[in-house]
């Protein structure tokens, strides 16, 4: 199909064209890549909001309520269109998946201002699928104002979402561990907004206390985030630093959800006003470029390696005749790299 025709259809809000394009992008097809290239300059408008947390903390129910809240704001805010990308895990054995996040999102059906897409993680380990970033780029270019990205039920180190999203909401539930869990590195560090869902359950005070205590100790890493990407602090006012709010919700009845939606909007404003929006875009594109480069180099290497060479080297490794490091050296010997060409 003609790429310009696809782009015109998607930008005109044709849902079947959008759904089919998302499949092409998810499968990383030739057509999908070509459209992504053309769409890149149209994207960059949407507010990407990640929702992550352990399995069973109520992420899907919260996403459902947040989408309703953005569609029908109670506080006089303009209504926004919402796309939802919900990622569930693929089986490491069969590659199959049950994508069940829509079960909690039935309230949203029939609304043309909402588009829900389920994705299987397809072997990626960071809580998202490899093509989730590309899928959000398409939904962004299609004109959705807010894109809610629900990760795989995430434990401690699935923090890819923080690189993709402008705003990361971490969902906790009462009784999910003691205060040592709260000071461990990882998922809590990337939270811009912390939600204690199921706040009608016992233990909510203890969870809230642990999270708040932990937050009061966290600060210096934001400075390092700037310097890591070679960006000056000049545009970034340290006094206006964002302190992640800790909010209680009971998602099925929508209690507390309006406050979370408001915090998401506030965080979006904060990012724009302080210039951190640009910093996060830079961090995201940096990591996207790096991953793409990695995948492309891997692909080129697979193209250059002689038939059967991998198996031969692998058998030597299995017999412990060579070490894994030696195997890598052997397998890369045949690869013509740019620096070898010039050196």
């Amino acid at each position: 199909m003609d790429i310009n025709a696809i782009i015109t259809a998607v930008k005109a809000g044709e849902r079947l064209a959008l759904a089919r394009l998302l499949t092409q992008v998810e499968n990383d097809s030739f057509e999908g890549r070509a459209v992504l290239d053309a769409l890149f300059s149209h994207a960059g408008r949407a507010h990407l909001v990640g929702v992550t947390g352990s399995p069973g903390t109520g992420k899907s129910s919260l996403v459902n309520q947040l989408a309703k809240s953005f569609r029908h704001p109670a506080d006089g805010q303009p209504e926004a269109t919402v796309a939802i990308v919900a990622v569930d895990p693929s089986s490491p054995f069969t590659g199959g998946a049950i994508l069940g996040d829509r079960v909690r999102m039935r309230d949203l059906s029939g609304d043309p201002g909402i588009f829900i897409r389920s994705m299987a993680s397809r072997g990626a380990l960071g809580g998202l699928a490899r093509s989730t970033a590309a899928v959000t780029q398409v939904l962004d270019a299609a004109g959705f104002d807010i894109i809610l990205i629900e990760t795989v039920g995430a434990g401690q180190s699935e923090v890819d979402i923080a690189r993709l999203a402008h705003t990361t909401v971490v969902v906790e539930a009462p009784g999910m561990g003691d205060d040592i869990q709260a000071i461990k590195a990882g998922i809590l560090e990337v939270a811009d907004i912390l939600v204690i869902n199921k706040a009608d359950q016992p233990g909510v005070e203890a969870t809230e206390r642990a999270l708040k205590t932990n937050l009061e100790l966290a600060h210096p890493e934001k400075m390092e985030f700037c310097s890591a990407f070679g960006l000056s602090l000049g545009t970034f006012e340290p006094k206006a630093m964002w302190l992640p709010p800790v909010l209680r919700t009971i998602a099925p009845e929508g209690s507390g959800v309006g406050a979370v939606a408001a915090a998401i909007r506030q965080h979006g404003n904060y990012l724009r006003e302080t210039g951190e929006w640009r910093l996060r875009e830079a961090a995201r594109l940096d990591s996207e470029l790096y991953h793409l480069l990695q995948a492309t180099l891997m692909f080129h290497w697979q193209e250059t390696i002689a038939q059967g060479e991998f198996e031969v080297v692998f058998q030597q490794l299995l017999a412990r005749q060579i070490s894994p490091q030696q195997a890598v050296t052997r397998l890369l010997e045949g690869m013509v790299t740019p620096w070898q060409q010039h050196g």
Binding site: R15, L16, A19, R20, L22, T23, N27, S90, S91, T94, G95, G96, A97, I98, L99, G100, R102, V103, R106, S109, G110, F115, I116, R117, S118, A120, R122
Partner: protein
Amino acid sequence: MEPKIRVLIAKPGLDGHDRGAKVVARALRDAGMEVIYTGLRQTPEMVAEAALQEDVDVVGLSILSGAHMGLVPRVMELLRANGQEDVHVFVGGIIPEEDVPALLAMGVMAVYGPGTVSDTYITDIRKAVLGQSAAA
């Protein structure tokens, strides 16, 4: 690598028994397919909307309420209206023998009753989506 087959398993109508739908969903998952499961008490409109947004290859409808002669044609009609006439639809549940020809005539790919072994529908789905050669 062959493309992933995406299947929507839906329960339109008012019966509250989804054991069968879950067993089928699980079997398709184990066959390497990506199964979107939408839960109980869906209207035909909800089913068609999910099939569209998810760009599925196959829709499986589980119906035990006896309302299949009303629900199935409505789902088929909505899929066509959305431009998804190429989506393969199968029906499972409690469907009287005499209704099966009428359902097939509407364009339903197959009707599976209780006791169907999973290999049957897995093979049928692979054939329908990937063509005869890929089903082996």
